[in-house]
Amino acid sequence: MKRNPWNILTVALFALILLAVPVYWLFFPEKTFSEAERRYLAEAPKLSAQKLTDWSFDDAVEGYLADHVPLRDALVGVNAYATLLTGRQVSAEAFMDRDGYLVAKPFEFDRQELHKRLSRIATLGETTGLEPQMLIVPSSGYVRSGRLPGTLAALYRDADVLSAIETYGGMRLIPIEDLFREKGQDWFYRTDHHWTADGAYAAYEAYMRVQGREPLARDAFYHHTVRGYVGSTRSRSALWLTPPETMTIDEPIGCDVTVTFSDREGTFSDLFFYEHLKEYDWYPLFLDGNHPITVIENRAAASDAPVLLMVKDSFGNTLAPLLVPSYRTIVMVDPRYYRQSVSDLARQYGAAELLFCFSTERIATDLNLKLLK
């Protein structure tokens, strides 16, 4: 009987795939780090009687094999696009909107927990005698919700967070929500949850006006650009076809800065740390990323220029360079890494302003903010 060539091809192809994967596992060097996922891949699990009987060995082997499957990034990308094309974005880590922007999925929060954090912030305002200025950055998904497919927009609860802050008392919310909703569609990276230089500048401008001071014009900064930026939202989404983008850096003119970190030796005379462009994550370019305490001194500032205490997450790292010309000293505190008294710091540096610069997600969900003192 003549054999059907397509049956031969079906069997051959199936056998080839079935054999190629174990051959790859056995004979190719094991990858230890995934650039796409920015994490170390699983190591081969070690067998033990305990693991065998409680099924954890089976799970560990499966996780290990999945981590080391050949063409893993491509396969994960195929799955991400299959999820996108079948409309199931709602179950993904990041959504792609109609303009191709990747936005992080909405966060969930508990209103009572938020109130506990706000209570800490209000108390800090009382102990320092400084009214906390709340510069809270809405998420890109919320700002761009008009461009999201289906009813995904309804899942973003940034407005609830912002109104809770506005009505809480003992603090002042810098009004940037409407500004971002109306004009800020492009103020976020396509591949990252952070604001761009434009977004940071808009927030800077709003902050300065609320403080009753004239902000510097955008031209008062040098604009540097670096091409090829790929942010963390793209890693979360695995939508690899989203192209890299350009990052703009606004550098203040005529400042004489020294930057010191509480957890890094040395004094630096630059606000931007370009060595991070060699890494997977470029965002630490701004002020070397997050440190417990970062102190920026501007010796060119007017002698009566105030001292600013900024409690912040990474959004503050792009805002701070814009504020440098207007302050003698900016003390930045990241409560995720700094557990001691913030009010002591305010006293120590003679702070005249207390600014909280956070994303809505962090202010609503970060447990560290409950430890503020």
């Binding site: 397509w6 994967v21 499957v69 179950s91 959004f315």
Partner: protein, 464 residues
């Protein structure tokens, strides 16, 4: 080990297939038994001894029964009691004890029974019983070779989730598996279809169902119904996908197993549904319980009682929890009602009405099936009719239901034989073979992509 895992696909299966096709004919069945035991031991390193014990004892009983003229019935009873006792101890002891403790809480409150269920025990025990009973009835020949008998019971494709292969159906194949290229290719295609059902459809429905189950009081009436149907699809594609994979693997090895599902969701009545759902189980209960109880030969009243017994047991077979018994009796009553008067009326109704009636009854049945906690079941059924759940569709559930609408429609389509019929009609065109191969390759790629993504867990430095 499950078929829809990288461990199975790229470690176990290549070894199994190479061994099966490379080893000399005389050692193949032995190899199949050995590798099947490894397959089982991967998930059940201790209980594999229980299964081996059960195989050896029942094989020996088979031999004794074959040699004995007078004590055949005694051996049969011994084997059935032993097998049911295994099920009673390892599957139902916890349920029994908890129920007794619930009835007499005072003296028994401290004691508890905790025996983990050995995987697949319900399947392999029923297979073993089919052999012993058919041997007693003279329908099957004695299997003198313990390796062959072991291979029949433990054969990895059907070991842990069926189909329940009766010994008489595979007796001849054990001696001479039908090995052919076209059979292997058919097996590959069937396996990929089954894998796709499980990985692409059932798993997607599982995500939707789990999300909607998180907070039934906030999902809205429509959300509750979508949840019910997502579970209805999940269980079908999960189970029938597994059966397809089993049959496909069987074909690759040269065995033909009975068809276990025949598009149950296009059924026009509940009677019809049960002719199409888990056919090997229904056949087993009909052959070894319903007919021995007298079936429909002892009058209407006895038939109704027999149906209730069979369906109560069918429910209990599915799990050691009272909701499964409730689910079984639900079908028992429905089948009785259809037999007594509804069946003829349904037949006269338009097709669309019959299908809607069936699918709603079946979906509600899955609701009973899915909740082992009866109070959670009550909350869900309340949500279906708007008790404790007043809106039509909650905000979050709207986003989920809308997002999953394309998958729900794909599942609805895949529940019908339209695609399979199309394939049959196009099969004789020459251009169709490459299209079919490309389709299978794309499905396999999508399955691998989904499996590789299960550990995708980007560590995003917390630089918010």
């Amino acid at each position: 080990m499950v078929f829809s895992s990288l461990t199975f696909l790229f470690a176990f299966l290549p070894i199994a297939l190479i061994g099966w096709y490379v080893l000399p004919r005389t050692c193949r069945i032995g190899f199949l038994l050995l590798i099947s035991l490894v397959f089982y031991a991967w998930g059940e390193p201790l209980y594999v001894l229980l299964m081996i014990g059960s195989i050896v004892v029942n094989w020996a009983i088979g031999l004794l029964m074959d040699r004995s003229k007078q004590h055949r019935k005694l051996y049969l009873i011994g084997s059935v009691v032993l097998n049911l006792a295994l099920l009673a101890v390892f599957k139902y002891a916890g349920l029994f004890w908890n129920t007794v403790r619930g009835l007499f809480p005072a003296p028994l409150s401290e004691a508890s029974v905790s025996i983990r269920l050995p995987i697949g025990i319900s399947f392999f025990t029923f297979q073993i019983m089919s052999y012993v009973i058919d041997l007693y009835r003279g329908k099957a020949q004695v299997q003198k070779n313990p390796i062959k008998f072991g291979a029949y019971v433990a054969m990895f494709p059907q070991l842990i989730a069926g189909p329940i292969v009766r010994y008489v159906d595979i007796e001849a194949q054990l001696d001479a598996p039908e090995r052919s290229l076209s059979g292997f290719a058919d097996g590959v295609r069937q396996f990929i279809v089954g894998l796709s059902k499980k990985v692409l459809l059932a798993n997607a429905m599982a995500v939707l169902y789990a999300k909607l189950c998180e907070n039934p009081s906030a999902i809205g009436i429509l959300g509750a119904w979508v949840g019910l149907f997502s579970y209805t699809f999940q269980i079908y594609f999960d189970f029938s996908g597994y059966s397809d994979m089993a049959c496909g693997l069987g074909r690759m090895l040269g065995f033909r197993f009975v068809k276990n599902f025949d598009y149950p969701y296009i059924a026009g009545s509940i009677t019809d549904f049960w002719r199409r759902w888990h056919i090997s189980l229904s056949t087993w209960f009909r052959e070894y319980v319903y007919i021995p109880l007298g079936g429909n030969r002892r009058g209407k009243a006895r038939q109704m009682l027999n149906l209730l017994i069979v369906w109560g047991l069918t429910g209990l077979w599915h799990g050691a929890s009272w909701n499964f018994v409730l689910w079984g009796l639900y079908y028992g009553v429905l089948l009785i009602v259809e037999k007594l008067f509804l069946g003829k009326r349904i037949e006269r109704m338009p097709g669309i009405v019959r299908h809607i009636y069936t699918i709603i009854v079946v979906a509600v049945g899955w609701g009973i099936f899915s909740f082992t906690d009866l109070s959670a079941l009550g909350i869900w059924f309340g949500a279906l009719i708007g008790i404790g759940n007043r809106c039509l569709l909650g905000t979050e559930s709207a986003a989920w239901c809308l997002g999953y609408l394309p998958m729900l429609l794909i599942c609805a389509f895949a529940s019908t034989p339209v695609a399979a019929n199309l394939v049959k009609r196009l099969e004789h065109f020459r251009w169709f073979a490459p299209v079919q191969l490309a389709g299978a390759a794309v499905l396999f790629l999508l399955c691998l992509a989904a499996l590789a993504s299960q550990s995708y867990n980007p560590f995003i430095y917390f630089r918010f």
